[in-house]
């Protein structure tokens, strides 16, 4: 209870000065009035200005903060409960990317519950986000003193040491994680990176091969693995891995940070959850999140469009069309919504309507590549070949990388019976995209047909 006694004046002074949940000046640690229970003075807690936040988020923060105030004021609140109350506000602030504002709350939580690992763990992440690696290291080390085999902490701390150019400090942490979970991908990846940093290429290659064996989706590992093979002089293997290089990250299982992503209410937070669900192809979860977002911000056309996209992917085309139409009603120049409607219409062979929608999308956003491609295809389908050709040409001028456009362009030339040009376009495609046999195959067929006089 001694800790509760010092917590009250700290919190009260912050509230008095700042007037509650409105904009408050930065406070200094010297404002802290009671510090007997801790080694170093704790900074005062103060909720930041909530006014720029979405209303549900601001309200959520205010409620949680008020709960803390009530708890502090109540006599006999157990320290663990009070720690949780501080920590919850800190977590909310972290979820909202207010890392510096979260820090004092989490420090109070840590002081009140010194044996609890959550608070130093979150502090470690808050410090990492603020580019304060030394403090992050201290926080993660504290977690490990309490829970030496905490996998996420071992990996994050190891990664921090790697970023500091200290592979020798990182390696024992990754190794310790592997003693707990022998095929832990993030730890293997860390060891591979550490070996690479030490220029121990054979060991790096071995570790990174183990990463890909354990999780072939971890495409980010191909790049350091390629560098390891390059260091070993094996350019062929290096190039083979570079071709597979991707951006799928390798991270430790991290339930506490995952929890954080689900905390915030509000349309933006729901939208973010919906996007994550879409990325992981959980379309029903995406529909749920986007629907909540739409309920919170019904005038936002982008949210209707995202909900429509998720509904379409979940197989509910009619509901998707409704959402796209609502997006267009709210924002008549919203190119993406016109495009999505155009795609659905083309998918049900309603080409004239699709062409109208897609043309509108392109009119509102002339550099909209996907819309131009769909429009060119739709025009080709209905025999408007010259117009189709024009769209392909425009598209390739905007982005010459789009192989589908080059192929469609060549096919349209075939349809226009402009065979020599078509042949040239197929050959050009085969040269530019050697990994796409369709250009050579179609060109070959055309050549044979031309030789046979057909």
């Amino acid at each position: 209870m001694r800790r509760v006694a010092w917590a009250l004046p700290v919190l009260a002074s912050a509230l008095l000065v700042g007037g509650g949940c409105t904009s408050q000046p930065d406070r200094t640690a010297s404002d802290t009035t009671a510090t007997e229970a801790v080694d170093t003075p704790l900074p005062p807690v103060a909720l930041p200005d909530l006014s720029p936040m979405e209303a549900p988020v601001g309200q959520q923060m205010a409620e949680r903060h008020q709960a803390l105030v009530t708890m502090v004021a109540a006599a006999g609140t157990p320290a663990a409960d009070l720690a949780r109350a501080y920590g919850e506000v800190g977590r909310l602030l972290m979820a909202a990317d207010y890392f510096d504002a979260a820090e004092p709350y989490l420090l109070h939580a840590q002081a009140l519950a010194p044996n609890e690992t959550r608070w130093p763990y979150y502090l470690g992440h808050a410090y990492m986000a603020q580019a304060a690696p030394a403090k992050a290291v201290t926080s993660f080390q504290r977690v490990l003193r309490l829970q030496p085999a905490d996998l996420a902490t071992l990996v994050w701390l190891g990664n921090l040491h790697l970023d500091q150019g200290e592979p020798q400090l990182a390696e024992p942490l990754f190794s310790r994680a592997l003693t707990v979970q022998p095929r832990m991908v993030a730890a293997l990846f860390g060891l591979g990176r550490a070996a690479l940093a030490r220029r121990e290429f054979a060991r790096a290659a071995d570790q990174l091969e183990q990463v890909l064996a354990a999780d072939p989706r971890a495409s980010i590992a191909h790049y350091p693995l390629a560098l390891a093979y390059r260091g070993l002089g094996d350019t062929a293997k290096a190039e083979a891995h570079l071709r597979q290089q991707g951006s799928v990250e390798v991270g430790p299982p991290d339930p506490l940070m995952v929890e954080l992503r689900g905390l915030l209410r509000g349309a933006v937070a729901e939208e973010a959850r919906g996007i994550r669900a879409l990325d992981s192809r959980d379309f029903h979860a995406a529909v749920q999140s986007f629907r909540k977002a739409v309920d919170l911000a019904p005038e936002n056309p982008s949210l209707h469009h995202k909900l429509g996209t998720a509904l379409s992917l979940a197989g509910d085309t009619n509901a998707a069309v409704e959402q796209f139409q609502e997006a267009v009603r709210l924002s008549p120049s919203f190119a993406q919504a016109h495009y999505s409607l155009g795609v659905l219409l083309a998918g049900s062979n309603r080409y004239p309507e699709a062409i109208e929608r897609l043309s509108t999308a392109v009119r509102h956003q002339p550099d909209y590549i996907e819309a131009r491609l769909q429009l060119a295809e739709a025009l080709r389908q209905v025999g408007q070949l010259e117009r189709s050709l024009g769209q392909y040409r425009e598209l390739l001028a905007i982005d010459p990388r789009v192989a589908d456009a080059r192929f469609g362009y060549a096919m349209t030339l075939v349809a226009l019976e402009r065979y020599p040009e078509a042949l040239g376009a197929f050959r050009e495609g085969a040269r530019l995209y050697p990994d796409q046999p369709r250009f050579a195959e179609a060109g070959g067929r055309l050549e044979v047909a031309l030789r046979g006089g057909r």
Binding site: S23, Q24, P25, D26, P48, D49, P52, M53, E54, V57, G58, A95, A96, D97, Y98, F99, D100, A101, A129, Q130, A131, A132, P133, L162, D163, Q164, G165, E166, R193, L196, A197, R199, I220, A221, H222, Y223, P224, A226, L227, R230, T235, A238, E239, L242, Q245, S247, E249, L264, G266, V268, A269, A272, S333, H364, Q365, D367, D399, P400, R401, L432
Partner: protein, 537 residues
Amino acid sequence: MDRAAESGLTLTHVNGMSGQFHYAEVIPPGAAFFDLDNDGDLDVYLVQGRPLDQPDPRPGQQPPQGRIFRNDLTVNADGTRSLRFTDVTAASGFDARGYGMGAATGDFNNDGCVDLYLTSLGPNSLLRNNCDGTFTDVSKASGTADPSWSVSASFLDYDRDGWLDLFVGNYLRWRAESSTPCFTPSGRRDYCSPNVYQPQPSRLYRNNRDGTFTDVTAAAGMALEFGPALGVSTADFNGDGWIDIYVANDGQANLLWMNQRNGTFKNMGLLSGTALSAHGKAKAGMGVDAGDVDNDGDEDLFVTNLTGEGNDLYVNDGAGLFEEQSARSGLGAASRGYTGFGTSWFDLDNDGWLDTLTVNGAVQTIEALRRTNDPFPLHQRKLLFRNLGDRRFEEVSSRGGLAFALSEVGRGAAFGDVDNDGDVDVLVANNNGSPRLLINEIGARNHWVGLRLVGQPAGRDMLGARVGIIRADGTALWRRARSDGSYASASDPRVLAGLGHATGTVRVRVVWPGGATEEWSAVPIDRYTTLTEGGGR
């Protein structure tokens, strides 16, 4: 020490912000050091923006425009310098009223007068220097009025024909009228991240030697690989005598275009180890520079990145294969809290080792600043690092003077010896703020050699020429004549090499962009010397 205002560099940048968080607002400006009148000192071009929501000025109102300042440097009897800049924009016939981004410099028509290429949000401009203090806009006639959003560009002689070609780094497809609103997790409006938009292809223009250029992007094999380009540095990265092109992309893999010596390029970014971090992740590349940081005779790369990522050092093995040594060097961790833009390798203290400075400023609201009601809460300190000579660096910003305590929204940085006293000064271009002219006050305590490398017949700066300064102990410092690198900026094309305590003369070997090598013996130190192609042995 900052001498911008007192010397007359008074233009305040207008980013045009209107509260709509238009993405383009936070990208400019750059700046240029260039000797417009061939009087031996560096003049200045400062990039300007304009309101994005009011493209046309109100009647009777002149929109802001980029400005040229002539350097009227005087050397006093006691050797001290008096810097004074005069705004000569009106007399120059110069009229840059677009939404400016940056500048590149080079004498594209070989008449001995340096020309300007201005990158913009919209069509770029090529301004031909008429050698009489005036400029003519030849953008359309030259075929270089790229309508894309361009930020950094570079003049280079990639085909070794003695005429400068032009590489233009293009950024994103973005228009104010279809600007996407973006929000923080708490629902506060903020600037978007670049991955909301699609990149635009960069362009390579070959000089036709008649005042026009041909877009050879496709013919050079560069059309199908591009990202949101922000920084460009050209150098011979694999030591084959041909200039290569490095492009720092924002949030996507960087590109290293290796010159194939036949008019084409091949992207070796991934295999070279310069495309991504060692972790395998693309970073938000902004500024970039190439220089021989470890004095082993090849060009190493430094790329500035976003807050949380840290800047990257890529050390060259001489054959164009690099190792990322950001963490080991100390440059990565120390910069993690900053969003870096303009940067360069330069020898701050003339000790013979290349140091580095980064100009910083966030691209999304810094919450702690916003809470103090800061009207433009993106500002950050500049960082200065001293090379310790073992591929490690120490941060010495706190010893850099008051300018390094200032927190500003830094973007471009041009590097050059603006007072001709034998050390490198820095012109910093701030977004929505005033420029800074950081005068180096420690470099001249050591000895140095200054070289201007020019070609025949007109005496054009030979961008891309490599210089070996052979010291008394036989070791060489390799430097390069260049005006590119950094971010959206153009720097002094002269080579200034620090010699520490060395005295006497030095021997100099020059590898010209055309491939020829010449030597000069007994080049005097502590002064500038012009070396003309064909004049050595």
